[in-house]
């Protein structure tokens, strides 16, 4: 209604006779336009040009790709090889394929080493009485590991049946799932898809990030709430999110709040 009234007022004001009274028979010509643009309006035109180029540069800066590999490249941390592989250019795919395999192997062995380290540091902390429980826990964790590997395998098999876009996404998820080994789940606690919370309720978690977290084995708020600063960092790296974002968005605190809200 208000808009209709505004339209009426606009029409009546704009088509008032006084506005259109002094009509001129003379038509403005393009040479006249050029003349006034380059003589009378020369300075504003210059300023406008500067403004536009500033806007374009600003826009280009805003849309720069903030993905991990690009940032690393920008800071020149010597990981250019990884970047080349991850860009997945069709032209030099063949050259990079071997590199990629090597890189992956290196990654995996590094992961295993880390996992071992974790085990070693954990053992002395356990009192002897708890050894039996420890054994059971170990068996369970082995089982879990097997299940995760199975899942990974399943994802890999599914890859072939997908179109290119879904494939790229799936590949990323696999990459995330592979990194699950680096994360200390004994602190986080385990969960499965059946008892998952709606992770997207956390600010900063979108559909894809939630999927990545699930691929990593994080399904519940309580797992997120258990994150120590080190684990936060590891998860951040694992899901290939903007560096330090998990810490800055305080996912752990948010998860704690959401947990509290649910119990009430």
């Amino acid at each position: 209604m208000g808009l209709l009234a505004l339209g009426m007022i606009l029409v009546s004001v704009l088509s008032a006779d006084s506005v259109w009274a002094n009509s001129s028979d003379e038509y403005p010509t393009t040479s006249g336009l050029a003349d006034s643009l380059l003589n009378d309006w020369a300075l504003p035109l210059l300023i406008l040009g500067i403004l536009m180029s500033m806007a374009m540069i600003g826009a280009a800066y805003l849309v720069r790709d903030e993905r991990m590999e690009n940032l690393l490249w920008e800071f020149g941390t010597g990981e250019t090889q990884v970047i080349e592989i991850e860009e997945e250019d069709d032209d030099d795919d063949d050259d990079n394929a071997d590199d990629a395999v090597e890189e992956e192997k290196a990654d995996e062995s590094a992961d295993e080493e880390e996992a071992e380290e974790v085990e070693v540091t954990e053992e002395p902390e356990q009192p002897e009485e708890l050894e039996e429980a420890d054994d059971a826990q170990e068996a369970e964790s082995v089982e879990r590991q097997a299940r995760m590997d199975e899942e990974l395998e399943e994802r890999r098999n599914r890859l072939e049946s997908l179109d290119e876009k879904a494939r790229k996404k799936e590949e990323e998820l696999i990459r995330v799932a592979e990194k699950a080994k680096t994360i200390d789940f004994s602190t986080l606690g385990f969960a499965s898809a059946s008892d998952s919370d709606d992770l997207q309720r956390i600010k900063g978690v979108g559909p894809f990030i939630a999927e990545k977290l699930n691929a990593l084995g994080i399904y519940t708020f309580s797992q997120l709430a258990n994150m120590t600063p080190e684990i936060e960092e590891e998860v951040n790296v694992a899901i290939e999110f903007f560096p330090g974002r998990i810490k800055r968005d305080e996912w752990a605190n948010q998860a704690r709040t959401l947990l509290g809200g649910e119990e009430e």
Partner: protein
């Protein structure tokens, strides 16, 4: 020459549509388009006045408005892209806090 009243009516209509859309729509890109529609309504009025009065100043204004609108859209779209990267949505209802 076309009756100025008709031009005025058309530009008023465009302006009102743009205003309504800018206030009611939730998709940021549609809001941007509506703002553009309002700008173009004003441009049309300027151009019509220029022809009517036989003066090129109206055209110059129109050109300036178009240029500024272009840079505004460039920045706007860039911001939406950045927002989408963070929130995975550009629905204006979901992106109503400046912090993060």
């Amino acid at each position: 020459m076309i009756d100025p009243a008709l031009v005025s009516a058309l530009s008023a209509l465009m302006f009102v549509i743009g205003l309504g859309g800018a206030f009611t729509r939730k998709n940021a890109i549609i809001v941007l388009m509506c703002i553009e529609l309002m700008l173009n309504a004003a441009n049309m009025q300027f151009a019509a006045a220029a022809v009517h009065h036989g003066d090129t100043t109206g055209w110059v204004y129109t050109l300036f408005a178009i240029a500024i609108a272009a840079s505004e859209v460039a920045i706007g779209l860039a911001i939406f892209l950045a927002v989408y990267g963070q929130h995975e949505t550009i629905s204006l209802d979901d992106v109503d806090v400046l912090k993060n």
